[in-house]
Symmetry: C2
Subunit: 209 residues, 2 copies
Amino acid sequence: MTTPRKPRGPYRKGLERRQQILRAALEVFSEHGDRGSSLKEIADHVGMSQAGLLHYFDSREELLVAVLAERDAVDVEATANVMTPGEAVARTAAHNARQRGLVDLFVTLSAAASDPDHPAHAFFTSRYANLAGQIEDGLGKAQDRDEIRTDVEPNHMARMLLALSDGLQLQWLLDPSVDMEGTIQAFNRICLPVAAEGDTSHLDRGDDS
Amino acid sequence: MTTPRKPRGPYRKGLERRQQILRAALEVFSEHGDRGSSLKEIADHVGMSQAGLLHYFDSREELLVAVLAERDAVDVEATANVMTPGEAVARTAAHNARQRGLVDLFVTLSAAASDPDHPAHAFFTSRYANLAGQIEDGLGKAQDRDEIRTDVEPNHMARMLLALSDGLQLQWLLDPSVDMEGTIQAFNRICLPVAAEGDTSHLDRGDDS
DNA sequence: GTCTATACCCGGATAGAC
DNA sequence: GTCTATCCGGGTATAGAC
């Protein structure tokens, strides 16, 4: 998506600028969310004028979705070579706890994007479908290997993990003392193969921050 | 809450108008969210002018928080006399699945309100603190009665439930095929007292809609 | 390519007539 | 209490000079 054509030749500088703007926009959007950010602020950040910025992205919307895609790429990279889905989600949570603005942006935008008319609607719907699908697959395989409990459908569990992640982000935004990672790991623990009733000693160690 | 007493005398009509506006605002906000709604639209809805509306609520913010409180009152009423926390959350989810606009408003606003400067910030922070506290209590008691598993802290579990609820709402907004209630009940099921390994027959019946 | 200037729109809030 | 008219601010987008 957005696939910026790659002209060779004199356009090189332009492409670099574009990247520069993208980075700045990511920062600014991250800090103030969608609504709170103006083109002018992003432009300032890059060190150019608002009108100059519009030379690269024809509209605000265009810039927004470009930023989203960019952010996503970073995320994917960070969790690409990771073990179990539960772990990946926990990791991301821990990482996000250092990126308040990004979390804000994400929560805000994904909600706003539920409107089919929103410029980022397609982006988010496919994003969630993909994520859910991937996680579901991962969980299914883990079930086959008896690594996790098998009495819940992978699909339900995948949706749970995603919901947990998003919901905790929201709660954390409102109250930074909320322990995103710990809570997710607690969840992961109860999805391990269920031990005999008495033997739960391995379950309750070292998570309660 | 809101308890509109009915003063006779000159104020009666005014109070009714206020209620009328509140209802209209709830509808409009529900449909287009915070950002997407204008005073004019709400006013139109009521059948009066934007300026006229401002006669009852001095500012947009004031109206917004009033609406929030109103909505909350309704919610509380709906889950007041309900059994276990997990059940209550599942119920609410089922109910919400018929109130897309409201869900949208809630998700949008709670995210936006994470900004300490947002007019609804205080409202949402205390709301979550209260909810989490209540649920935690309920779960603690359930643990004491051995109705649910005891190897997860009530606090973590409470946060999980809330996160699950919110996160699923978001996913559902983006993809209405997401089964909010079913997923929550699946979660509730894995929080029941853990049976012996072989005996999980009671766990996987009648949920996968 | 980048700027300044500006047109334009939208939404909230205010003033003042009725 | 309610309206019309108006102001004002913020934001995007455009025109046109350099």
